[in-house]
Symmetry: C2
Subunit: 341 residues, 2 copies
DNA sequence: TGCAGGAGCTATACCGGTTTATCAAACCCA
DNA sequence: TGGGTTTGATAAACCGGTATAGCTCCTGCA
């Protein structure tokens, strides 16, 4: 016998298909004795549900989707996504729900994917990353009635369910640490201000500056690429009054920045302190190793999966789950600023 | 009307469900005029196939799977997978086939996933990576009769279809380049000898050594981690007779090795030349930038997808497609060896 | 004793497609 | 003009599950 169906099991057990379905799904309708017998036979014949058949009948496919809209070139280097992905999977595997992953070039393509997924019933819900300020995906997903969870963007009124960490607190912990070391000129090499998390970080720095007595604290936007990270660093270090510390919004940019500093003969951490807003092997591979903000990205993904499953089960409620604040891991790239010449 | 079904279309067009199915799938059975009309109506009602229903009827799910068995920690840093993935997707998107991705801890878990996928009919085929010497996955997939394509491992007799590049030629191009610069002590920090590609590289070096007049050319196995890469480098550089060049089997290990060299005061490329067997932003971010072997990983993935689709369509034939040889990109980390003291 | 009610199970419709058996009309050639 | 083949279409079975109406017993209670 190839793949047994519930009809085969029903036959063997001398009951109806319906009874088998009840037994296998753990719902009432059969006696414990019969259930036991059916389960044993199913096990014996090594029966497994046919996903398509189940999807057709139950109108749920036990599969969720995740689209990442970034050029592949920059994707691989950031451990962030790999960890996030593993976390999401671990959250899903408990319910043995599978994950569809797609990497696309831009948001337009991403939305197109959601439309297709929705109309073809390929996924029960989706996980969103990289929330932008007026994100077009939100309305689209609502229109499609596709359950969704946003990672990283705390939603306001009428927003989608979300899992988020406090970017504001995170930025504050970095700046306060640097200020305590004595830094007063702290530059921030930011990401795209279009991203909500980037905006929150920029605002946090701006708000904290007066209180901490910062003399100069510019936030400079980039596209997250190593190239722009390097270019901005070069510009910053060429100024007459250069910063004594730079905070980078990603580990890749921080590494690029460190390279520029070395090349220009600026010693780290002697002349310049460097902090990365994301932690990974990358920051640890460097010499000096970079002080970085560590988040439990794996857990982040896991929680996103959990919230998504709850949302699929009960679409009415909107969960907004806050994750633990990230903590600063101090390594060798930060020190008190040089004494003024 | 919510999502129209072919029955709705049949109704509107005044034909039977069967006719609509024929028309939409471009198979004979309807006249051109009727086909045209049906297609127009389907378009108008913005009909899309219900993937589960189609899977149930046609017993193919238009979805392929890929399992990566590596600890998530090391995954993200290597751009290799991100590029490969994008390539695979691009190869699949033409036929609008979707991809299921799973990251697991080890091969046992990977095989378990294949079993599940096969019995639940979740995928039409799978793509394998990291082929080992006596790979248990091969037999398992054959037993499951699940179409598969192996990436990177040229198969022998009775093997699975594959897409591969010539690791041997690649290693030779590196070593010949170094030998031409004058290097005679070339160490090779390899991956796990368990991997077929690693073995081929080790053998290539061993075979070429006499011809190139190498005095010393050890291949040292690692687990691909930055930690072991660093440890081996430290050992190599502490020897009385240390190598004048080191070839690393991955970009991450090369970067780790560079760090160790700097820390030990060994100048690169003055005292030591470094070559990475994989290229990425990582190698370009370093100072000095690393000489590395560049492969078109994206295209690699695209071809794997193509071969898999052909294999699914015609399981009998076994395709073994060779991709272009990788080329060496020379950067700043290689130079002639120091003159003997 | 009679009847309501629930437990345990069966039979069957249904999900949205694909595939096949069947059939009428048109076409072809001798 | 008549018999065989091709064309265009239909109706119904089918894929492997889930959901539901309904049937049969058994139990409990008035």
């Amino acid at each position: 016998m190839v793949r047994p169906t519930i009809a085969d099991i029903a036959n063997r057990a001398g009951v109806s298909k319906g009874a088998v379905s009840f037994a296998l799904n753990g719902r009432p309708g059969v006696s414990d004795a019969t259930r036991e017998r059916i389960l044993r036979i199913a096990e014996q014949m090594s029966w497994r549900p046919h996903s398509a058949a189940r999807a057709l009948g139950a109108s749920r496919v036990d599969s969720v989707g995740m689209v990442i809209a970034r050029p592949a070139r920059t994707l691989g280097v950031e451990p962030f996504f790999a960890h996030l992905l593993s976390g999401v999977q671990s959250g899903l595997s408990a319910e043995s729900i599978s994950l569809q992953l797609l990497i696309v070039e831009d948001t337009a393509a991403e939305i197109e994917v959601y439309r297709r997924w929705a109309s073809e019933h390929r996924v029960d819900g989706v996980i969103l990353v990289d929330l932008t300020v007026k994100d077009p995906r939100i309305d689209e997903l609502k229109a499609l009635e596709l359950p969704a969870v946003v990672i990283g963007g705390r939603g306001g009124k009428g927003a989608l369910p979300s899992v988020w960490a406090d970017d504001r607190e995170a930025m504050l912990s970095i700046v306060e640490y640097l200020a305590a070391l004595g830094h007063r000129r702290i530059a921030h090499v930011a990401g795209t201000p279009n991203f909500q998390h980037t905006q929150r970080r920029i605002r946090a720095l701006r708000d904290a500056a007066p209180r901490l007595g910062l003399v100069d604290s510019p936030s400079l936007p980039t596209d997250f690429s190593d190239a722009e990270g390097a270019a901005i660093t070069r510009k910053l270090l060429s100024q007459a009054q250069r910063p004594t510390a730079i905070v980078y919004d990603s580990d890749v940019m921080a590494v690029a920045g460190l390279g520029v500093a070395m090349e220009m003969g600026v010693s780290v951490p002697g002349d310049l302190s460097i902090v990365a807003f994301d932690d990974s092997i990358l920051t640890q591979l460097m010499h000096p190793a970079l002080t970085a903000l560590s988040r439990d990205t794996f857990d982040f993904g896991r929680q996103a999966a959990e919230v998504l499953l709850e949302t699929i089960a009960a679409p009415a409620q909107v969960i907004n789950r806050r994750t633990p604040d990230p903590v600063l891991t101090v390594r060798e790239s930060t020190a008190p600023p040089p004494r003024p010449a």
